[in-house]
């Protein structure tokens, strides 16, 4: 840890012991979240999410492809993350590094494990042809907590998706006139907590991420079940801290879900 980071950590920890944060937020308060849907016409679905100054764009593309051999009756879901160099001085061009891969896999886990998309409805011909859903996360500005921003943007883009109607006639895939939405059946919300000096905060921004000991992301589905978790960073959590986080996440998830899911 560099000297500057150490000084910063002390400052942030001192503020937190008084229940305050550098940007004026409460310990368990998110930054402002803005969701724009349908921002890329060429994509079947898209969304841009602002989490404070963090900005993430997600595009959904749908293609006809082959199912995995162990799930012949299900469509395929893939999540990829690009940490685009224009988003931060710390991002470099090249194939996804471990941070990008972890981010993609955490977003993927939330969508997959909550069964957000009814993948069985994306099967065209069992074992042969299914629809493949590509979720591409494009980070445009990194100001901390990319996981939550990406997960919200991915869910919004899926809900925004309009795809062609496909049918199989005599072994050939035909495109029918009109559009149809994705068969969505759950709405997972990821919430990330950071631990600094044994205190917990929600939605860490960049300055806080740089000094945090560890982070924990909990994804809560629409039935208040926990469906994905990821701990990161080189610190640790106690069992009590994990349970506290789970309870706060369960309480706060519906607020965020309302911003994406309009009933």
């Amino acid at each position: 840890m560099s000297m500057i980071i150490r000084v910063k950590q002390k400052q942030i920890a001192q503020l937190m012991s008084k229940g305050k944060r550098l940007d004026g937020r409460e310990l368990k308060e998110h930054r402002e979240i803005k969701v724009e849907m349908g921002v890329i016409e060429k994509a079947e679905g898209s969304a841009r999410v602002f989490l404070g100054k963090t900005e993430v764009l997600v595009g959904v593309k749908i293609e006809v492809g082959e199912p995995f051999p162990d799930t012949p009756n299900e469509g395929v879901l893939t999540v990829n993350v690009e940490l685009v160099p224009l988003a931060s001085p710390t991002f470099e061009p090249g194939p996804p590094d471990e941070n990008a891969i972890e981010l993609a896999r955490v977003v993927d886990r939330g969508i997959r494990e909550s069964k957000a998309i009814d993948l069985e409805k994306l099967c065209l011909e069992p074992g042969k042809k299914v629809l493949v859903v590509f979720i591409d996360v494009y980070v445009l500005n990194h100001d901390g907590n990319l996981i939550d921003a990406s997960a919200i943007a991915a869910l919004a883009a899926l809900l925004n998706t309009k795809m062609f109607k496909y049918e199989v006639e005599q072994g050939e895939v035909k495109v029918k006139p009109g559009y149809t939405p994705l068969p969505m059946q759950n709405y997972p919300i990821a919430m990330t907590f950071a631990k600094i000096n044994d205190k917990l905060i929600v939605d860490p921004w960049l300055e806080e991420e740089q000094v945090m000991d560890a982070r924990l992301t909990i994804t809560i589905d629409k039935d208040e079940k926990i469906c994905a978790i990821q701990k990161g960073g080189t610190g640790y959590f106690t069992k009590e801290q994990i349970l506290e986080i789970a309870n706060i996440a369960k309480e706060k998830a519906p607020e965020i879900r309302k911003l994406v899911v309009k009933d």
Partner: protein, 245 residues
């Protein structure tokens, strides 16, 4: 008529491999199994067979990665192509990249890295045979390899998963239980510090189930911790006897 699904847990609560819900798989641990490494260990947990080796603390290559105030811990979790039913490409998969990262983060809090500035500690975990729970068994064995290398640590790190299979909460899931089950929660733990250093979950659990699953895997971890300590003692008692002869 639809084929009758094979049950993972019978009506008496006995699992498919004969275990009770809170029972670990049979475990065999050996310390110091590779002569070239500074520290090494081998674990068999059920059908899992995993080797771990530690090189270092030594000079960092490339040099620019060296840290001024502590040692650089690097970790590679890798599965052998023959470790699973269908051959796995030896190139690192996205899963292996993620696991290498979370395993490194699970072990880093246990090591006094600040004792060895400008060096690196390189940790290699090779899964020779995989049968569910390899990230956890990998951490358990890697911590022993670090101890065998004589690297000062705050505590041994031990890891164990628990989850939910056919509505029941169970400890130490096999591959089949993980695939057919409803949830899997791998966890790494330093028992003396009460510190959870790896924590992941996939599947679906209510908050009540979640709390019970954590307790279950912490209990499993404590059992494993005893086995870890016994295996270390077994090696060093043997070394001591050798020296005294």
């Amino acid at each position: 008529m639809p084929k009758k699904e094979e049950r993972m847990i019978d009506k008496d609560g006995v699992r498919i491999d004969g275990r009770k819900f809170d029972e670990l798989r049979p475990i065999k641990i050996e310390i110091g199994v590779l002569s070239n490494a500074d520290g090494s260990a081998y674990i068999e947990q059920g059908k899992n067979k995993i080797l771990a080796a530690v090189y270092g603390p030594h000079e960092v290559h490339p040099k620019h990665l060296a840290l001024p105030d502590r040692s650089l811990l690097r970790c590679r979790y890798h599965m052998a192509p023959f470790s699973v039913d269908e051959r796995k490409s030896p190139a690192p998969s996205r899963r292996e990249v993620e696991l290498s990262k979370v395993i490194r983060e699970a072990l880093e809090p246990s090591i006094f890295l600040e004792y060895y500035p400008r060096t690196s500690i390189d940790l290699f975990i090779e899964v020779l045979q995989a049968h569910g729970g390899t990230r956890c068994a990998g951490i358990t064995v890697a911590s022993l390899a670090l101890a065998d290398a004589g690297i000062p640590m705050r505590d041994l790190t031990v890891a164990c998963a628990a989850g939910k299979v056919e509505g029941q909460l169970v400890l130490d899931l096999t591959d089949e239980e993980d695939k057919k089950g409803e949830a899997d929660v791998p966890l790494a733990y330093m028992p003396n510090l009460g510190a959870i250093t790896l924590f992941q979950m996939d599947g679906q659990l209510t908050l009540e189930e979640f709390e019970k699953v954590i307790s279950l895997s912490l209990d499993g971890s404590k059992q494993l911790y005893q086995l870890q300590k016994e295996s270390l003692k077994a090696k060093y008692v043997a070394v001591k006897e050798d020296v005294e002869e």
